[in-house]
Symmetry: C2
């Protein structure tokens, strides 16, 4: 939603937004109508401030053309059609809470035997800030305590687990799942929910560090959490449906076990990862004992070297397996090594397969279209300005306003916004990174939609990565089919 | 150079180009003026054919907007200023030839004991074509024989080595170096030449498979090789200077040994890699015995785990090392795993360091600007068309020709062409892949030039990759400074 404000009122309005956001109502008193404005782009008629958006949580400025993805909230969230109207009601008996491990907790574990002074020193050597870690740890637990308390007050039984306790059994026990963490924790939580009848709700316990794309109200202040939960329990919300990608793989030698890329990626501050706080790196087995794959193992069939020659003469039967994890954001297919070129063939719907050479390909849902897909395809104002200048000169149209920063910003914003689509849309968007076209690899549109996408690997050491966290080997000889199915829909909530 | 041809003459002209290119003059008779037209874009006034360029070697069509990089020959090759005029003369006494290993040779080696029928069968199972491999093997050796014969006829002593015999000693022995292979072999050849007085000349022995950006006449037909070499020996050429990037790294625990990513990448057909035929994958030590790192080891200092706590309290002295390899195309800095986000800080010239989060960054020379850098930054016609449409609607300028495919193609071409710059330009171009901007990581221009670039790693498992082939560990705590120095210039030849 855009609001037109006169220039002289901008500062006042921003102040209002900040105040409302950092709402100082008492947590125990639920306001009758909870008004917690989302951080929204503020558009002004003229001036530099119109091109920027200010984040109330930390007052950082961000060009509007890039905020397009971050704050494209209401427009893209679909309402189900009238024929599918379901009066919202959230009254579970049993709720499972998946909590992330805070970085503070992780560092204490990894540096066993160090007292807090020593830990502070070790962290400082790495350029990390102990006090900040501790502060974030406390904030996380403050949210968590409030959540648990409100569930108890509502007479709902709850269990708290961290990632290694987040088993299918625990999920099956629950009627609903809450994640307490950031977007990464939400992804992890939803990865084990395979039915569209079990809601998953994300609570962003790190609004400073995580964008909270998939969390309730994105960056809900802690003092407003109680009120929001009461709203939820009283049915004052709407269901939000997010489509997911089902992947079926056919391979020569079976499908490898998943490689778990999750980790708290604790070498960095803030503790965030690619576009969410989806932790990502091979779990350090030595350091953290309870390292367990979240994905059930997939049956493998080994071929011994001595049989290779004989087998070379016999057609090998390929095995087809549906991967046990659905993708909520995207599937990435490409070489594991970032500097290696990826080779594969791609077929959209039931069309012919085409050869491609690139830095890999992402296939995303509407949910994922604000994430990696967005970052690959967005244009910067620099690029848009350059192009507008070329168009102006080539077409002899000096009235094209390439020197007008506001116009460039608005045009860039419109372009970037069109990259984003509805989480409930039952289609896949593909995006080829750094496509290499030459006489051998004829060009194709590097971006588009399809109902079904088939990829045949011609890779050396390629993998198929789900939501940036779970990786399957995907080499020459393997094929994957990706599609969206209604029964894989993820149910979550939104406040309108 | 562009030629305006009337539509009715296009086919005739194309035929002429093809004939001249596949010149049928006898190899032993050197034409007085050797006219071997480079594959050039043919621009026509109207019609679909104006947007496409036809490759005479295989008749594949390629949109002009993408051919822009491939065929931007004469315009960007600099002539040194009058004050630096040096009459060309090429009269070495001793020449070293670095030949690639053909894929056929590699497969024979790896599948020891298999006769050709069995080899053919194994390859067929992988979707590879034995006959094609054999044919390319023969073509390669045909070029190689001609080269050796011409050198002998000219009274020049020559030695032939493959990669494992390509030592510094061998290079120092020679007055000049020839590479026989594709662009990857040229990169490998130039990697050991550290003086600007020793010319390196690339002969593209796989014109069908390799683009030959850095090779003599790019895709010189084999029957024209003799003539071209005679031209070279008679001084009828110009020097072409290519700038390179010197990298100096400072790290906490010393610099790791280089990881050799070279390999013949022989699982694919055609045997080409990212943007050149630069082979790339961890050398398979078990399969190919003479596996030797091309890069001299760099001194390492290990810190034991037991000292870690103690050391945490003591400032560690950092070690500064100049890497033993110069980059001719580009340096890539980023996480090793393609699906992991990269964190680092970057400072241009002597400006303040800025934090960034992205899919990594490339820093390239003019030579490299046609390569990975180009593929990252190029726009497709789809993208340009979308943007032109938005501009037309936003600015109410219906005369912007976004539905005119020719106009879109020309504008796209102009944009893409401006990405490419002179190999002799003494500046670095940086390009950030999929930059992630949000409130924590303020936006910066993702593309630009600098004389010097400093990068501080905040990586988990990051590396610094030179020309896609040699990789150095580059983790949190390490810093690299990249710059261009005159003494690192690579001298090669070009025919005008």
């Amino acid at each position: 939603m855009r609001i037109r404000i006169k220039p002289q009122h901008v500062e006042q309005f921003n102040q209002h937004v900040r105040n409302a956001y950092l709402c100082s109502t008492q947590p125990s008193v639920a306001p009758k109508t909870l008004v917690v404005p989302q951080p929204k782009p503020v558009i002004v008629d003229k001036g530099e401030s119109s091109r920027y958006w200010v984040d109330p949580t930390n007052h950082m400025r961000l060009p509007r053309s890039l905020a397009a993805a971050l704050y494209q909230t209401q427009n893209t969230q679909s309402k189900r059609s009238i024929g599918n109207m379901e009066k919202p009601s959230f009254q579970p008996k049993k709720v499972l809470i998946l909590s992330k491990l805070t970085r503070y907790e992780f560092e204490k574990k990894v540096n066993k035997g160090c007292d807090d002074d020593q830990l502070a020193s070790i962290l400082r050597k790495r350029g990390s800030d102990y006090n900040r870690l501790l502060s974030k740890h406390k904030i996380h637990h403050s949210y968590l305590n409030t959540l648990q308390r409100e569930l108890e007050n509502a007479g709902i039984e709850s269990r708290l687990v961290r990632r290694f306790g987040y088993t299918q059994e625990a999920v099956d026990w629950a009627d609903a799942v809450f994640s307490a963490g950031g977007d990464g924790t939400f992804l992890m939580a939803s990865s084990k929910v395979r039915t569209k009848h079990k809601p998953v709700i994300g609570i962003n316990t790190d609004p400073q560090g995580s964008e909270g794309y998939m969390c309730l109200m994105r960056k809900l202040p802690e003092e407003n959490l109680s009120g929001a939960l009461k709203k939820l329990f009283s049915g004052n919300f709407e269901w939000l449906y997010r489509q997911r990608i089902r992947i079926t793989v056919t391979g020569d030698d079976g499908i490898s076990d998943a490689i778990e890329l999750h980790d708290q990626q604790l070498n960095r501050d803030p503790a965030t990862t690619r576009w969410t706080d989806n932790p990502r790196s091979p779990a350090r087995e030595n350091d953290v004992e309870e390292c367990m794959s979240l994905s059930p193992p997939v049956k493998k069939r080994m071929i011994s070297e001595s049989d290779a020659k004989e087998i070379a003469m016999i057609p090998i039967e390929k095995e087809t397996v549906e991967l046990p994890v659905l993708a909520l954001n995207e599937v990435f297919v490409g070489e594991s090594l970032s500097s290696r070129v990826s080779y594969y063939e791609i077929g959209l719907n039931d069309e012919q397969m085409l050869k491609q050479k690139s830095s890999g390909i992402t296939i995303c849902t509407g949910t994922g279209s604000t994430s990696w897909h967005f970052n690959i395809n967005k244009l910067t104002e620099q690029c848009v300005q350059d192009l507008m200048k070329i168009v102006a000169e080539h077409c002899n149209l000096p009235q094209i306003p390439h020197t007008d920063k506001n116009a460039v910003s608005e045009i860039c914003t419109k372009f970037n916004q069109q990259l984003i689509f509805d989480p409930d849309r039952k289609q896949l968007a593909f995006s080829v990174r750094d496509p290499i076209f030459n006489a051998t690899f004829p060009p194709t549109d590097p971006r588009g939609f399809a109902d079904k996408i088939r990829i045949k690997s011609r890779g050396y050491d390629a993998h198929l990565v789900i939501d940036g966290g779970i990786s399957y080997r995907f080499n020459d000889g393997s094929e994957a089919v990706m599609e969206v199915r209604d029964e894989d829909t993820l149910r979550t909530v939104v406040f309108r």
